[in-house]
Amino acid sequence: MLDGALAAAQELREEEAGAANGGTGLGLVRLLSVKVVSALITLFFVIVFNFFLFRVLPADPARNLVRGSTLTASQMAVINRTFGVGLPLPRQFWNYLAQTFQGHLGISFQFHIPVASVIGAALWPTILLVGSSTVLSTIIGVWIGIRAGWDRGSTFDRTSTAICNTLYAMPDFWLGMVLLIVFASKWAIFPAGGMHSFGGGSTGFASVSDLLWHLTLPAVVLTLVYLAEYSLVMRSSLIDELGSDYLLTARAKGLRDAMVRRRHAVPNALLPSITLIMLNLGFVISGAITTETVFSWPGLGLASYNALNYPDYPVLEGAFLLFSAAVIAANLVADLLLTVFDPRVRQA
């Protein structure tokens, strides 16, 4: 379905490129480089902002770490020295910039290992969970949106729109708790949390199936919550196209209804969805803080939740940086893709 649309868009693009050969080539390169440079500038500002954001927090992180254990002022000084929080601000800023550009994100207050390792360990679970639900929700959501929009007013449309509106308004942690109570507690057919069972070190096939078993509930929650948005956007943009003259033309050529929809209406209506999908992809790695927390899924969302509770400022700082970078990158890709898919953007 989707790849059909993409193929159609590809054809369009090629036609367009053929027609406007020459002049736009250089313009395109300029356009692209402007976008890339502005993305880099944004990223730099994020890095600077990140530093000050965490320094306006209450003055003494070390103090927070040790409430409940016996420490004298001189021992506090040791902790401050260890974490480098006692240094003058400009010095801290310089250290921070130098380290960040060398790829060092500092040492976690909580785990006493490099922040990169903390984040690295949480990256794969998040990509697995949020990635798989994004793919599922995109496919299902766009499909529902097309069906509903094309047959506007049909039973399918009314039912699916009602369901999607409900899902769209539903907080994901609440849905997660409901699924937990029903499927993990009442019927006890899915686990209550985590990513693996504790077994005699299951391997290969068994461990994959165990992982899928743990993945099911959180992935279903995220898929349901995300797909509503995709479906509603797709539906409304398809409805916008319904009255267009080119559809009349297509029908007049004698094309089947499904063909008109797939070849002509959908490619045009897909543009807002592509933007939305790309933007949401940027948020894939920031994970789903609430869903990961409800299901104790050890991804980046849960890692940042724990870091916030601790509070583990270096991990939070690193996570924020990564999240911002991902959003900026996804925006850039969305911009670039639109340039490819939508000739109007190029000519503007």
């Binding site: 902790i79 290992i113 686990p191 078993w213 104790s296 849960l302």
Partner: protein, 639 residues
């Protein structure tokens, strides 16, 4: 599984295969979830899984801070002694005996013979001496981490005499030297970790001498340990022990109910109630060392006595503090916030340490009595004024109340406290804030009252130190360095008693400690609210052998007060104790072996239904998708 022999073009076949594969993959795992007994069988009958709500930070005993960290350290490493299971008295562990010189300044410890590190190297006095020299390097991370035990030890005096004897000197008589809860580390490993490296040393594969050995640590997920087969006290009764982090306590309760974990810690009162009557689960409503208080700014000042902050001077008046304490309906908090899993509190060393707990005479207890509170305020010159707020010398009696908004209990306590104080004519402004801001405001003396809490160890020294003059703030404006004192209580008699209790032991010390609490109770820098219980729940149908501390049916089963008795005695129901050493405490275990759950499930389990449902969903989705593709494909061909 199914190998597709079809042509590459046959998408249907491939999709079907994938769907079957996914379904088949999910199904067997789903089946495991059906019955607790089955879940336990799958992870092995002697694998014990503990659910904990505070994550484990790491394996380096010098840097960990959470309860779960200390739980792991005490299993991986041995201390010289333990707090006794029955009465918190010194109980031998790595040290079999010890003695002190006549002048009370030199201590000698005899180390257990034949103990081996988990890597096979023998443990000797050299390791013990190494640990204590390292822990006494002035100003080091090591020292700060162990300061409540090693503060008086003379660094240069620590030495091994022969293979199994260690001697160290102290700067002044220190009775606590018979209870050193300091993990003994292997010299041959730690001598390669410099002082500079220590705070960032992950120690991922710790070599210890304790009853368990860490095999796997995943941050924000779990710690897996296996039984140490060569443990000097005998091999533990469980072969594998797992600490599983839960960020959602409800999920933890569900996991216990399902049997995917065997022990749940950190349950809220309502979750605890939800587990009542569940088959195979035993609830333990265990009194703990924890309490919360309403603290007063009794006159914020620095260590040198310089007044700081903007606290309302009204609270320097002991009569106002006492009146407020009489206005607090502690029973209501116990009932509504803790669903009765708590009891009204009086003095700071809690009743679980009866030898140190001061129990005020009945007629002195601040029982809820708003009339008395009002009378005290009136007698103190505070006349009821306009708007129901008392006035004295033209000033209204208005106070600020802070609390950490992260805490669900403080959030519930605060409105109650406000309403009780309003009722006796005190205007209260309540502000929830994060703990960092709160710590800073308190350190600067910019507060009137706050709700917070402490957890008290068996050794009362630290908790008592919180009320000494030396724990007031230090440094200079704008941000002072807070000490541990957050009421700024300062009393010379109290301070001299604090110094005196360090120098004596036994009954003499108990007497002083009670006397100190008597002073605190009369002066009321803190109005203690409640001692709250640790609500623990566990699968008594699968495991037995818990050794509670104190030795009572409602003692703490795990997460004991700096003790680890149960882990060494735990075993699957139906097996007999395997430990050989009588010092271990297994003779005190409770819980007659419960009837193993004869949950023989017949027919199709819920889990199997789940698996099949998953497979069907995938198949149907695949089929639908395929149908679309096929219709599109044929349509393409036609057109």
């Amino acid at each position: 599984m199914i190998r597709s022999h079809s042509t590459p073009g046959s998408l249907l076949t491939r999709l079907l295969a994938a769907a079957v594969l996914f379904g088949a993959a999910a199904a067997p795992a789903a089946m495991l979830g059906g019955q607790p007994a089955q879940a336990a069988k799958v992870r092995g009958p002697s694998t014990f899984v503990v659910g904990n709500t505070a994550a484990v930070d790491g394996m380096n005993p010098y840097v960990g801070l959470t309860n779960a960290d200390f739980e792991v350290y005490g299993l991986v490493y041995d201390n010289l002694m333990d707090y006794g299971q029955t009465n918190y008295a010194p109980s031998p562990r790595l040290a079999t005996s010890w003695s002190v010189s006549k002048n009370k300044l030199v201590w000698t410890y005899h180390i257990r013979h034949g103990v081996k590190w988990s890597d096979g190297v023998p443990l000797t006095a050299a390791d013990v001496a190494y640990t204590f020299s390292r822990d006494t390097i002035p100003g080091s991370t090591e020292e700060s981490d162990n300061s409540s035990y090693v503060a008086n030890i003379v660094h240069s005096s620590v030495k091994a005499i022969g293979k199994y004897t260690v001697q160290m000197a102290v700067t002044k008589p220190t009775p606590n030297m018979d209870l050193l809860i300091v993990p003994i580390l292997p010299k041959h490993i730690w001598e390669h970790v410099s002082e500079k490296q220590v705070s960032n040393f992950p120690n991922n594969n710790p070599v210890g001498s304790g009853p368990f050995i860490v095999t796997n640590f995943k941050i924000n997920q779990s710690v897996t340990l296996k039984a140490n087969p060569n443990y000097w006290g005998g091999k533990p009764g469980i072969s594998k022990l797992i600490f599983n982090d839960f960020t959602n306590p409800s999920a933890e309760a569900i996991a216990l109910k399902n049997g995917s974990i065997d022990f749940a810690e950190g349950l809220t009162a309502s979750l605890f109630n939800s587990l009542r009557g569940q088959p195979g689960i035993t609830l333990d409503n265990a009194p703990s060392g924890n309490w919360d208080e309403l603290a007063f700014n009794t006159g914020a000042a620095t260590v040198s006595g310089k007044p700081i902050g903007n606290g309302n001077p009204v609270l320097k008046d002991v009569n106002v503090r006492r009146a407020i304490s009489y206005a607090l309906n502690r029973e209501q908090l116990v009932k509504h916030v803790f669903l009765n899993y708590a009891e009204p509190a009086t003095s700071p060393i809690p009743p679980i340490y009866p030898q140190y707990h001061y129990n005020p005479p009945a007629n002195e207890i601040y029982n809820y009595d708003p009339k008395k509170a009002e009378a005290m305020l009136t007698a103190d010159g505070w006349k009821m004024g306009p708007g129901g707020i008392r006035v004295k010398d033209g000033k209204q009696l208005k106070l600020r109340l802070y609390f950490g908004s992260d805490s669900p209990t403080y959030t519930q306590d605060a409105p109650y406290v406000k309403s009780w104080l309003t009722a006796i004519g005190i205007g209260v402004t309540v502000t929830g804030m994060n703990e960092s801001t709160e710590t800073q405001d308190i350190g600067n003396g910019d507060y009137d009252m706050f709700i917070w809490g402490w957890g008290v160890e068996p050794n009362p020294d630290f908790q008592l130190s919180v009320f000494t003059c030396g724990q007031r703030s230090a440094g200079s404006p704008p941000n002072y360095t807070p000490g541990w004192s957050d009421s700024f209580f300062c009393d010379n008699q109290y301070d001299s008693l604090y110094a005196a209790q360090k120098l004596v032991g036994g009954v003499a010390r108990q007497k002083i400690v009670k006397q100190m609490q008597q002073i605190l109770y009369a002066d009321e820098p803190y109005a203690l609210l409640y001692y709250y219980n640790d609500t623990q729940a566990f699968r008594s149908d699968l495991f037995t052998g818990f050794a509670p501390q104190p030795d009572a049916k409602n003692g703490l089963m795990l997460f004991q007060e700096v003790s680890w008795w149960s882990y060494r005695c735990l075993r699957p129901v139906g097996t007999s104790p395997s430990l050989t050493d009588h010092n271990i405490g297994c003779q005190h275990e409770i819980g007659a072996p419960a009837q193993a759950a004869a949950a023989a499930s017949s027919g199709v389990s819920g889990g199997m239904i789940g698996g099949i449902a998953a497979a069907v969903v995938v198949l149907v989705a695949g089929g639908l998708f395929l149908a679309r593709r096929r219709s599109a494909a044929t349509a393409d061909e036609r057109e």
